[in-house]
Assembly symmetry: C2
Homo-oligomer: 352 residues x 2
């Protein structure tokens, strides 16, 4: 079965291709093989694509997928061939001491897609036709029935981008009546707006300078848009919120500038939830201490959040798939990356 | 009334004296003047005493006091001459937008003792005989009746050290059933042990290398003592807590080493509450992010916590004053500093 399926491979900076590669197979009896229905491109895929995360050899890429189970190992009991499943951006056993506490992205046996698992067996990236899924029982969440095609984009967001926005809101402690600022108008930031409103936020300010993203932020429930950044942006946010800033700030970028913006947007005693993978973030600890600011974030434990969020998607309560503004067949994946790199697209869906 | 009362003045590094200074007087109609019954020396007073916080001229010092109201301005309504009051380590109006949210140490009109207020009027340090209290209604908390002398040490801890330990526990999210590690066996760390147990923590580990402090930690409810530090300490803590670390870590020192110890003692998804004033703390943000660690801390909003904690002291539920292991008359304040500097005392009470 060598060289049968196609998968996305990043060869060099900005040189990404759909290559023919080995088909995945069941290696351990807890594995499943899943055939892709749709995957997508994440803002964090752009870090290696742009060379900002170095890599030394061609790498498989992608970590968001919905698909149909094709094969399961003898030890798999919760999914079976034919099931429609959501594949979170990290695999996890869902049984270890860390998963028991809901932090599946730090699973003692888990890991990320596109490299070897802890036993040295290769795990595919998720921008491809097929994927070997370790700990299928722990990792995969199936839908009750095969969903209508119109739901696919919304379900696909549950693999990463929407639960990541939700995680920002949870880490920032958003609850009924909270005042909220979202820093970052990428797909995660926009998802965070939707997540904050879903959790009952009273007033949500989205910081955005782009008309199309402002429009989507409004559609997701943002009450106000602040286009300014830096000193001016912070002053505007403080003015909106009683002259002191917001209870909760959702940092959805990961740069030092965006973190600074987030810290300055919070009121004394406020809380920053951050989900942008930090690149060069330096914290002024005495300043944070002086204002009693809290900070919490990390890779979203998608698997923990999935059952609750899935229900809202199935019930039509939320339509997080509205973040996709470009849809391409998988064989045009390179154009999908270019569109996001050049900010022509917020987020690219890849169909099969 | 020049040169009548006596107050502690730090003249040079390790040169601290009880000087005769101007009596305080009512300056604004929201002021009170309070006569000291007891004050004490804080670990944070040692920073300037040791020259680790620079100062350029003699400074008044001290920020923990219980006393009797002597005079009140015409605008003061909640306390009157003769009331026994607790004076928190920060003064605050208790009415601004920040105080309304319970963050009195960032009061828009408040400040700290031993310097000018925002209107340029001098505010005494609290290691003295008398003190001008700005925003008396907002700052002072009186006891229902004049307390028995035996309660004075316990009540005095409510000015700073016990609510600060409590704040560490609150910032770390300690609740019923939490697993907890306390880093630091000074008066604040020991108070944090007591606070964590009071909030319902299941198992509390105190990190301490000193027999007398270990004993007090046990008396305050610590379930286990870990004497090791660094790699060894972190490994022991992980072993105690399911191989993954504690839910909540209370950082009560403020150095880079102690913060590192705290971060390494938390389980993935765990929360660090920090109340040691940070000196040279550098955070490894990507490492914190990878483990989904949360961090929150700052100067404890004592005024917000006081009513609840006061009741427990008056009811004899807690005896936080057990942290005092040295009691001296105010005129031996220099010896009190020496004893703490040389670690001969955990915390020094000053009587009048």
């Amino acid at each position: 079965m060598l060289g049968v399926m196609r998968a996305t491979v990043l060869h060099e900076v900005r040189d990404i291709r759909l290559d023919t590669v080995d088909d995945p197979r069941l290696v351990l009896d807890t594995d499943a093989v899943v055939r892709a229905v749709a995957s997508c491109i994440c803002g964090s895929d752009l870090w290696p694509y742009r060379g900002e995360n170095p890599f030394t050899q061609p790498v498989r890429i992608g970590h968001e997928l919905v698909g149909i189970v094709e094969q399961v190992g003898s030890g798999v009991s919760t999914v079976q061939p034919g099931d429609f499943v959501i594949v979170p951006f990290a695999y996890s056993d869902n049984t270890c001491a860390v998963c028991e506490r809901g932090v599946h992205t730090a699973c003692l046996n888990g890991g990320y897609w596109g490299g070897d698992d802890r036993q040295g067996h290769f795990v595919d990236g998720l921008q491809g036709e097929l994927v070997r899924v370790p700990f299928a029982d722990g990792t995969l969440v199936k839908t009750p029935t095969t969903p209508d095609e119109s739901l696919v984009p919304h379900l696909l967001t549950l693999a990463d981008v929407f639960p990541t926005g939700h995680h920002a809101a949870m880490c920032a402690g958003v609850t009924t009546g909270s005042t909220v600022v979202v820093v970052g108008d990428g797909a995660v930031g926009l998802s965070a707006v939707l997540a904050a409103k879903r959790l009952g936020a009273d007033r949500v300010v989205a910081m955005s300078r782009h008309a199309d993203r402002q429009e989507l932020a409004r559609r997701f429930g943002a009450d106000e848009i602040v286009a300014e950044r830096g000193d001016e942006g912070a002053a505007t946010v403080r003015e909106i919120f009683d002259g002191i800033g917001a209870d909760c700030v959702l940092e959805c970028v990961g740069t030092n500038d965006s973190m600074k913006q987030a810290l300055r947007s919070a009121r004394p005693g406020g809380q920053i939830g951050y989900v942008g993978v930090p690149h060069g973030v330096q914290l002024n600890v005495p300043a944070m201490f002086g204002r009693n600011l809290g900070l919490k974030g990390g890779p979203a434990p998608v698997r923990a959040y999935l059952p609750e969020l899935l229900q809202d998607v199935l019930d039509g309560v939320i339509t997080p798939g509205d973040v996709f503004d470009l849809s391409l067949p998988l064989d045009q994946v390179a154009e999908g990356y270019r569109a996001m790199d050049e900010r022509r697209a917020i987020k690219t869906l890849l169909t099969l």
